[in-house]
Each structure stands twice: as structure tokens, then as C-alpha cells.
Symmetry: C2
Subunit: 128 residues, 2 copies
Amino acid sequence: MSKSELPVIGQDDQTECCAPMVREPLGEEVAADLARMFKALSDPVRLRLLSLIASYEGGEACVCDLTGPFDVSQPTISHHLKVLREAGLVGSERRGTWVYYWVVPAALARLSSLLQAPSESVPVGAAT
Amino acid sequence: MSKSELPVIGQDDQTECCAPMVREPLGEEVAADLARMFKALSDPVRLRLLSLIASYEGGEACVCDLTGPFDVSQPTISHHLKVLREAGLVGSERRGTWVYYWVVPAALARLSSLLQAPSESVPVGAAT
């Protein structure tokens, strides 16, 4: 079977946004884009940073609050925040002395939808 | 504030399974475990392999069907499949000549739930 016979997500339209990857094979470009986002999540400190930012009241956190909980240096935290920002997972803004970070809900929602398991994405038609 | 004052997911119970990471800060051990799973997803070929396996009729694919769509060698595909299997994202079984692969729905569901965005994880209480 040639590649062109397979229905591929995200070649000609925007359906790749939120379709579960278990339903149709991912296209190359979409996979490369998503792999970059997952790479940003592939570090424990970055995962904890993202979780910590999102858990703050109001959904945003001052960088001044993000170093304390970790046994790594401020420059390392800054590097991890940069990776998360470049992956589109967090946004940031400087206000006076400090930079504030928040999660980007659409980015998390995209990955969450993509990973929906078969049992979640397939309608239950046949009751047993 | 000391670390112990923060409510941390997955320290003493199994609630880390499916709780969105945007609700409470992730604990160190859970974050390390999840980071390994996301690392397995951080490669475009592995993402496409996982998607391809899940998209096969019946939800499983013979390794003999998984090389064709990729411009990489059979040993490279085997390596990527091993990474996916060790991360708990796919299962496999040899039947006769070939090894068959399937996705592990619980693993995808765990990551999907974890990434639920703030707007998805907060009940909509106030209609406008």
C-alpha cells in the first residue's frame, strides 16, 4: 500500500488540532510539531514547573515564586521556562521587576485531545 | 513556605493517576515517571508509529506493517518500538514469525487526563 492511500491527519486542513492520534495516522509535519511540545514535557523539573504555574491562584505565577520548590539554580529554572515558552505551553509578561508566567490552555487541550485513548474516542455502540 | 505545606499529587495515594496537573503541583516521583513517558513521545517517528499502531483495524499492528511508511531502517523502527514499550505506551506479543503491537489505552488516558486544560478541569458553575 502506498503512503498516499492512508488517510493522514493535518495534510490539507486544520483537523489535526484536536483529533485523537489513535484514530488516524499522524502526518509528518504535525508529528514533528507535536514532538517538540512533548520534548518540552520530557523533563521532570519542567513538568513540575508547568504544574506549579497552573496551580497558582489566578493561574499565573511570578518567576520569583518558582525557584524555591526546586533544587536547581535560578538560571536553570530560567532555561526550563524558556523551553516551555518556546514550545507554546506557557506565556509570559514582564511587569516591573518580575516576569509572570501562565499556562496556555489551548496548547494543553491540544495535547490532551490528541492522547485520548481508543475507548474515549470511539463511540460505544454495542452494549454487551 | 516549606515544601511540605504544598499539597502534592501522588505522594501517599494513587490520585496521581488521572488528576490534571494544572490543579495541584506534581510531586517529584510522579513527575519523573511522567517525564519518561513524555520523552517516549518526543520523537516524530515514535509519535507516528504509536498513531499508526492505534489506527490499525482491531487496534494492533504486525511489525511487518510498520516499516513501510517510514524512511528509516527496520532496526531503527525496532528501537523506537522498544522505547514505546518500555514507557508503557504499547504492548507487544510474538505470534509465529511476527511481533504484534497495540497501544495501552490506560497509559494514553493517564497522560490525556493529566494535560486537561484549566478550562476543562474546572466545573462550569456560573453561566453568563
